[in-house]
């Protein structure tokens, strides 16, 4: 019994990382048909954001609040991912709608650039850059709020960006002084220090639940609920779904479809940032951290069926449990008297990487029976 529970928990832990990583991808791929190979790099940015936020909370002023930094990191990581996603959509993705293979290649190019960016640009300057972009973009919104919508005089617009750049440069300079660790670029991995309450395990009788894992499961559940609420209950979610189903009609109804595209992509990218926070809790953070997750994410999306949130949930849970059952060789514990040849087979696959091999084979088999995933979209619009 406890074996089953343990397997379920481990499966949920593995699956929740997959799911939170795949969630943004599922949105972008499912709703926009865009394959974002830079998704892993957006996660990487989220992970680095966690590191930067954590460094801030190590300053004497914020030291007492160190335990809470992880929540700030989630919010900031969402904004970092979202901003980069927004820029990406505006500059590259927008030109490539309807050409999924090209998008795939272009986003791969972006992922290369992002990786190299992290290696060559110090985190202090990256933070300043991000802050400048945020201020510059938020400025007009504030002015709209203050003085009503409309075009501002060019001096004001220029001033907005001057202020933004000044804020960015000042911040970067200050960070260089205050946090020397962030002043130099490095290709080496960094480690995020988890707050004390996030370390160790929760004792439940015979076995302990690692708290970072619990935290990730909780974060994933929250993220899924938030996405569900956003897509199905909010006004912009309604617009997004409308554009997905019939772009031309949505245009005619006055839905700003280009804004919807940008928003959808930004939200998907923001979720990648949040996933990055989760990833930073599991191991050290480096420029290549995203690549470890991206294929798993795609497997979740393909297996679950495109454009289906619950499909992604079920698929990631399934992959998670299977990874644990196969990778930890649990069949041996469940059925110790199995014949020798089978035992050899089970032992052969009882590592994480070999479990992946077997799971991929299983996924290809499942796709033989259900080519469109576990929960396919139906109807005339579904491309045969």
């Amino acid at each position: 019994m406890s074996l089953l529970l343990e397997s379920l928990f481990n499966g949920a832990a593995i699956g929740s990382v997959l799911l939170i990583a795949a969630l943004g991808l599922a949105i972008v791929f499912g709703l926009m048909g865009v394959i974002n190979l830079a998704h892993g790099e957006l996660m990487m940015l989220g992970a680095y954001t966690t590191y930067v936020v954590q460094s801030f909370f190590k300053l004497p002023l914020l030291e007492p609040l160190f335990g809470a930094y992880i929540f700030v990191a989630v919010a900031v990581a969402f904004l970092v991912g979202g901003l980069v996603g927004l820029l990406l959509e505006r500059s590259v993705i927008r030109r490539l709608y309807g050409r999924p293979l090209e998008t795939l290649l272009a986003t791969w190019g972006v992922s290369l650039i992002l990786q190299q960016f992290v290696r060559t640009v110090p985190l202090a300057w990256s933070t300043g850059l991000w802050l400048a972009a945020m201020v510059g973009l938020v400025g007009p919104l504030v002015m709209n709020r203050l003085w009503g919508p409309g075009q501002r005089p060019w001096l004001l617009r220029l001033g907005n960006w001057v202020v933004a750049v000044a804020v960015g440069v000042a911040t970067a300079g200050w960070i260089r002084g205050a946090m020397p660790k962030l002043a130099r670029a490095s290709a080496r991995n960094v480690d995020v220090t988890a707050p004390r309450w996030l370390r160790g395990g929760l004792d439940l009788g015979d076995w302990t639940l690692p708290i970072p894992r619990l935290m990730i499961i909780g974060l994933t559940i929250l993220a899924v609920l938030a996405v569900y609420w956003f897509l199905n209950r909010s006004l912009w979610g309604l617009r997004i779904r409308a554009v997905t189903q019939n772009r031309a009609m949505s245009d005619c109804l006055g839905i700003p479809t280009q804004t919807v595209d940008a928003l959808t992509f930004a939200v998907g990218s923001g979720l990648a940032g949040v996933a990055g926070v989760a990833v930073s809790l599991l191991g050290s953070v480096g420029p290549n951290v995203g690549g470890d997750y991206i294929v798993g994410c795609f497997m979740v999306v393909v297996l679950g069926g495109v454009g289906n949130l619950w499909g992604a949930v079920v698929a990631s849970a399934g992959i998670g449990v299977l990874t644990d059952v196969i990778g930890a060789g649990r069949l041996l514990e469940i059925w110790p008297q199995m014949p020798a040849w089978l035992q050899q087979g089970v032992e052969f696959f009882a590592t994480t990487s070999m479990a992946r091999v077997l799971i991929f084979a299983l996924i290809v088999l499942v796709l033989q029976v259900r080519p469109a995933g576990l929960f396919p979209q139906r109807g005339r619009m579904a491309e045969v």
């Binding site: 139906r378 109807g379 005339r380 045969v384």
Partner: protein, 254 residues
């Protein structure tokens, strides 16, 4: 007009639904060998779905489709095509990167397998057919131009040419004269009429002048069912058809 003997194509009690929307409802239709049949119907009557069912793109939830006495259900598009069912699509779909002649060559080739294309050259008879068809569809001077550079009407004709050169027993022709000039329309009608007899032809069209010119039996589809069947004159005077087309009730407009 229908020839005696067993029907070449028979649809019996075909039902197709998309997410609960019934595109075809208990559709029954028979086509005799050598017949030329026109199918008309307002938008959304299920005309294209009807062709999709015959060519195997859509699987019906109920009913049977029989061609030459064999059921077509459960067969793939290419298997059905090899049995002798050819289709021209609604908006012309030709291979735009290939030349006119190359398009026709792909249609005429047999066997249509990788090895068949690699090993065998086109036979003299096949080349003859291509040349003949190029003359018929009036594209001989443009045989080596990219199909993508043709005008809309020429693409329509090229696709009809591909259909004919494929030598099917049954030709399914979806809106062959959409976007054609009057003269071209007339010639298309003549071409289709000349094909009937040797082939069985089913034409879907909106253009009533064109249908009248075909001088043949007409089937009216409405909301996924056969509304009525008969000559053009009979059909045009049928009160149900008038109601459907002129819209006695607002809800039937859609």
């Amino acid at each position: 007009m229908p020839a005696p003997g067993p029907p070449l194509l028979e649809l019996a009690g075909v039902n197709v639904s998309f997410d609960g929307f019934l595109a075809l409802k208990n559709l029954n239709l028979q086509l005799a060998a050598g017949e030329l049949r026109a199918v008309i119907g307002p938008n959304g009557a299920g005309k294209t779905t009807f062709l999709d069912v015959i060519t195997g793109k859509v699987r019906p939830q109920a009913g049977d489709v029989r061609f030459c006495g064999r059921s077509l259900l459960g067969r793939n598009e290419h298997q059905i095509a090899r049995l002798g069912v050819g289709r021209k699509f609604q908006s012309p779909r030709v291979f735009e990167r290939l030349s006119v002649q190359e398009n026709l060559a792909l249609a005429v080739s047999a066997p249509k397998t990788p090895m068949g294309l690699l090993r065998r050259h086109l036979t003299g008879a096949q080349r003859q057919r291509i040349h003949h068809l190029l003359e018929v569809i009036n594209l001989a001077p443009r045989a080596h131009d990219r199909a993508g550079s043709l005008s809309h009407g020429q693409k329509q004709w090229l696709e009809i040419g591909m259909l004919v050169v494929q030598a099917p027993q049954l030709l399914l022709v979806d809106e062959p004269v959409a976007g054609l000039s009057d003269a071209e329309t007339e010639r298309t009608a003549d071409l289709l009429k000349s094909l009937a007899g040797n082939h069985t032809v089913l034409v879907i069209e909106h253009d009533m002048e064109f249908i009248r010119r075909l001088q043949t039996r007409v089937t009216v589809l409405h909301q996924g069912q056969v509304l009525c069947e008969g000559s053009m004159e009979q059909v045009q005077t049928d009160p149900r058809v008038v109601e459907v087309y002129l819209g006695a009730g607002q809800e039937q407009q859609s």
